[in-house]
């Protein structure tokens, strides 16, 4: 079990998430307006999105398919009949005065996401349900001291709210879950998971209790928009709640806001101030009825998901679990990996080497240049070639790093780069022997020292030979030759 311990004893943490995932779709949930990000204010606001009198919502069936696909991808049960409801509240960026959501009968029930917990054990985070709803617009308060501005571009954009059971026991677990969920949604292409642009945000429910006792009072933290903030907010909240209980007070059921600048949460509204949303069935929309054949058709479009892919990578290429999961966590990385491997005829022995080079050197380059793997200057095919050059001893690993740098800069093939720079490894015994002999001849006193037991000097000789050969001598052959020519007396 996951406990944390303070001077008063052990505590258990309970976390549940409500993840708002913006559906990838060209148009909105109930209108044909565009969902394009970054256009000028209100450019994407149709009469429906601005709640003009007489306008009516019309369900965008692509958004429904996306939710359906998400439900299937997250192992949920798609309901053949679901309903839309109205959630009533007033706000300036909520033009209708209500949000159309699914409160009573959501489109997907149940489901789960598999994660690895801190002990490395597989754990299921169960989902309560997934429902569809429309997003609100945005209020902008910082443009004028006396006025607020409204941008309705986001008004009516389709969201999926993915609600978990209270199954997470630590901030790390919650973060792992959110990462995994994001990965699956990106695989499904139903949400881009872009937390910076707000296309994925989470509300977090946190409570603490003593082991073997009932769950504590939960507090909801609104609008977390990064995985780092999620962890900070949970940690802060856990500490805050424990302190309250330790000082014999009671945790209030309330909604709190996370302030990313201070890393703290603060009261937004207490239970007493909780709004009464007066949910009732949306009379402008008939029940959402799905046929089994539609569900089956969508099921057939679901790609291999990260868990299955990781298992396959381990099985087919003998990759260690760590590598396989890291490669599989992003579909684009996995695609890059498999394309690179394909280009060298799925050489099984190269699989681990390729994985090392992608996870190590390529990721470092991508980070340095702030690029995604899809924007990589190095193509998967070239990456494969590079691995082949290393594996067949044409170049050493050390030279390979320089080759990769040049590949990034010039987009040339590694073959051409190695050729043009004369970086081919020297693998000829005789050629290496000549260099070795020269070096030994240059340092007779060091040879004597070595022979007298100063074995550390072996490295010095290696270095000198490398210098002489511009680093191109094959290290194994060099070792062998050097040993033969440096007999210890």
């Amino acid at each position: 079990m996951n406990y944390i311990e303070t001077s008063t004893g052990k505590w258990e943490i309970v976390i549940g998430l409500e993840v708002h995932a913006q559906v990838i779709s060209n148009s909105k949930l109930f209108s044909s307006a565009s969902t394009k990000f970054g256009v000028s204010p209100n450019e994407n606001a149709s009469l429906i999105d601005a709640a003009f009198p007489g306008t009516l919502p019309v369900i965008n069936s692509f958004c429904i398919d996306q939710a359906l696909k998400t439900g299937l991808g997250l192992n949920g049960k798609v309901n053949l009949v679901s309903f839309f409801d109205r959630k009533n509240y007033f706000y300036a960026d909520l033009p209708q005065g209500y949000q159309i959501t699914q409160f009573y009968h959501p489109i997907v029930s149940g489901g789960y996401v598999q994660i690895e917990d801190a002990a490395g054990e597989t754990k299921r985070i169960n989902l309560d349900h997934i429902h569809m709803e429309q997003d609100a617009g945005k209020s902008i308060h910082d443009q004028s001291p006396t006025k607020s501005f409204i941008d309705l571009n986001r008004s009516g954009v389709a969201l999926m709210e993915i609600v978990t059971k209270p199954d997470m026991k630590s901030a790390e677990e919650a973060a792992t879950f959110l990462r995994k969920l994001r990965s699956i949604l990106r695989y499904l292409k139903t949400c881009d998971g872009n937390m910076d642009e707000g296309s994925m945000r989470a509300d977090v429910n946190v409570s603490v209790h003593r082991p073997e006792t009932e769950y504590g009072t939960r507090v909801e933290i609104k609008n977390i928009n990064s995985i780092k903030f999620l962890m900070t907010a949970v940690d802060f909240e856990v500490e805050r709640q424990i302190k309250i209980i330790e000082s014999d007070r009671k945790v209030e059921q309330e909604t709190r806001l996370f302030d990313s600048s201070t890393g703290k949460t603060k009261t937004m509204r207490s239970k007493e101030d909780a709004q009464d949303y007066r949910y009732f069935p949306e009379p402008d929309l008939p029940p959402l009825i799905l046929t089994q054949s539609r569900i089956d058709a969508i099921r057939n479009t679901i790609p291999e998901l990260p868990d299955a892919k990781a298992i396959r990578l381990q099985r087919d290429y003998n990759l260690p679990s760590y590598d396989a999961h890291l490669i599989a966590s992003e579909k684009e990385v996995a695609d890059f990996y498999e394309r690179a491997l394909d280009s060298i005829k799925k050489d099984e022995n190269a699989a681990k080497l390729l994985s090392n080079w992608i996870i190590g050197e390529l990721f470092a380059l991508l980070n340095k240049h702030n690029k995604t793997i899809e924007e990589s200057s190095v193509s998967p095919e070239h990456m494969g070639e590079l691995i082949l050059l290393i594996k067949t001893n044409v170049i050493s690993g050390k030279i390979a790093k320089d080759v990769l740098d040049l590949m990034w800069k010039t987009q040339e093939s590694p073959d051409n780069i190695v050729e043009a720079n004369g970086w081919k490894q020297i693998t000829s015994f005789d050629a290496i022997k000549d260099s070795v002999k020269e070096v030994l001849a240059n340092y007779p006193d060091k040879v004597v020292e070595y022979q007298n037991g100063k074995e550390k000097l072996f490295g010095f000789f290696v270095g000198e030979v490398m210098k002489k050969t511009n680093g191109k001598a094959n290290p194994q052959i060099l070792n062998e030759v050097l040993k033969k020519n440096l007999p210890i007396s």
Binding site: I59, N88, Y98, D284
Partner: protein, 484 residues
């Protein structure tokens, strides 16, 4: 020519007895002349004459469409592109719609000429047309005392009865077409829920609202109904049911048709005269060959309370969009909440506020199950009532209203008593059924009374068939005939 039916006007136009411009001018003159009726909120004379001219051209070229050049009045709840649309409220006193409602678009596409927008109870909430921000509408049947026209489509009913237009559109959420039709001695038809698109109609109660015609004859209602009916991709609750040629059912024999008389529609306090006319209607249909069957709709008595839970609940939510932020009336305030409070306090009238409060209450946590959920359950039972009845009979005959039009100042002061005006009409809305009110006669005070027919879903053809038979036998005098 102003007292002709739509059918006759269409004949006259195609036979070139008169032009659409002449006709339109004639109605515009009458609208001015009978300004006291206050039937219109907006008159669009120039636009009407412009479209009349174009219609005359098309008639001359032999390209006339179904409603070519026919001057109509439009309830001010249908959004008309470029023509102010207020829904009878201060809240929309300056609202000029950027798009056309489906119903009015269909009428325009058929060549109709719009004379203007008719007065109505604010947001269609009322049964006497005394809640409009733009003043009361007067019933043209008024003599010594000014009578109410009924509501909420009071302006449309008054305009049709007073011959200020050939026909008009209305909307009916609990009786808002049929009740004023009955009070004004004209025909009013509420179609099956889903028959006409609600796109572009200012919403009152979304699950009950339906557009429909107010006309001088049953045949006219059939002609208009055909044009405004049909599936609309912009309204997900509109039906794909095929639209028959309703007009072909006018005058069809009613022999063998089983007409049900629901005993629950005998209500305490109902006038003897109404009961007499109801009996007379049944007699007339019997004479025409129909079979009269006594039936029971046991849950009818719960229809009115059910209606006054469901309709305000939906209205309280539908009217949330009128907040002063995007369009329409805005009152100032230093905070967002103050803008809301001031806008809605000044922008809505008392009846609208009352219903928003009731609706908000019945949807509130802790009351939802007791009121709203229970109302939905009773709604199911009422629907079952009707389906059982329609196993035994083809359609139902009832009074449209428990009383005839009352005079201003004599309306019930207690809103709940006022709501009783809708007691016979709300059932059709609750069950989504089509209903028609046909004038049957004048009471002792020479005020019109109507009878209502209610048919199964999408059986408006039956309403036309039996309604026209009733109309024929009742031989109801139009106002003009009386005047002459």
């Amino acid at each position: 020519m102003y007292n002709l039916s739509l059918y006759d006007v269409r004949e006259g136009l195609s036979n070139k007895k008169f032009s659409s411009v002449e006709l339109t001018e004639c109605f515009l003159d009458r609208i001015e002349q009978f300004n006291d009726l206050n039937a219109f909120i907006t008159v669009c004379a120039d636009r009407a004459l412009g479209s009349a001219k174009k219609s005359d051209q098309r008639i001359a070229e032999g390209k006339a469409m179904e409603l070519e050049g026919i001057p109509l009045a439009i309830k001010d709840l249908f959004l008309t592109k470029g023509i102010k649309t207020t829904a009878g409220s201060k809240m929309l006193y300056n609202f000029i719609p950027p798009y056309e409602s489906t119903v009015t678009k269909k009428l325009l596409d058929a060549g109709a000429v719009f004379l203007g927008k008719t007065n109505m109870d604010e947001f269609a909430m009322g049964s006497a047309n005394i809640t409009s921000y733009y003043g009361n509408v007067v019933n043209p049947w008024s003599k010594d005392k000014k009578l109410v026209p009924g509501g909420s489509s009071g302006g449309s009913a008054s305009a049709v009865a007073g011959h200020l237009c050939v026909a008009a559109t209305g909307s009916d959420t609990g009786g808002s077409i049929r009740q004023p039709a009955s009070f004004c001695g004209i025909v009013g038809l509420k179609p099956t829920y889903g028959r006409c698109s609600r796109y572009g109609m200012v919403a009152f109660a979304s699950s009950l609202d339906q557009a429909g015609p107010l006309t001088k004859t049953v045949r006219d209602a059939a002609i208009l109904l055909k044009i405004i009916s049909g599936y609309d991709e912009n309204d997900s609750t509109s039906s794909r049911e095929s639209v028959p040629d309703f007009e072909s059912f006018v005058g069809k024999s009613v022999k063998g048709i089983r007409v049900g008389i629901p005993k629950e529609y005998h209500m305490a306090g109902m006038s003897e005269e109404i009961i007499e006319f109801w009996k007379k209607g049944a007699e007339l249909l019997k004479e025409a060959g129909a079979e009269i069957v006594d039936i029971s709709l046991p849950y009818s008595k719960y229809a009115l309370p059910t209606y006054y839970i469901i309709a305000p609940a939906e209205a309280s939510s539908n009217l949330s969009r009128y907040d002063g932020i995007k369009y329409g009336f805005r009152a100032n305030g230093v905070s967002l909440n103050e803008v809301y409070e001031n806008t809605r306090a000044e922008g809505f009238g008392d009846e609208v506020k009352r219903r928003i409060l009731v609706g908000t209450y019945v949807l509130s946590a802790g009351y939802y199950d007791a009121y709203y959920m229970r109302a939905l359950k009773i709604q199911k039972l009422i629907r079952q009532d009707f389906s059982h009845a329609f196993e035994k009979v083809d359609l139902l005959l009832t009074p449209t209203t428990p009383n005839s039009a009352f005079a201003f100042g004599e309306e019930p002061k207690d809103p709940v008593t006022m709501y009783l005006n809708d007691v016979f009409t709300v059932t059709a809305n609750i069950a989504g059924l089509p209903g028609i009110s046909v004038p049957i006669g004048l009471d002792k005070q020479e005020r019109p009374l109507g009878l209502q027919l209610i048919a199964p879903h999408f059986k408006e053809d039956l309403l036309i068939q039996v309604g026209s038979a009733l109309e024929k036998s009742a031989n109801f005098p139009t106002l003009m005939e009386i005047a002459q």
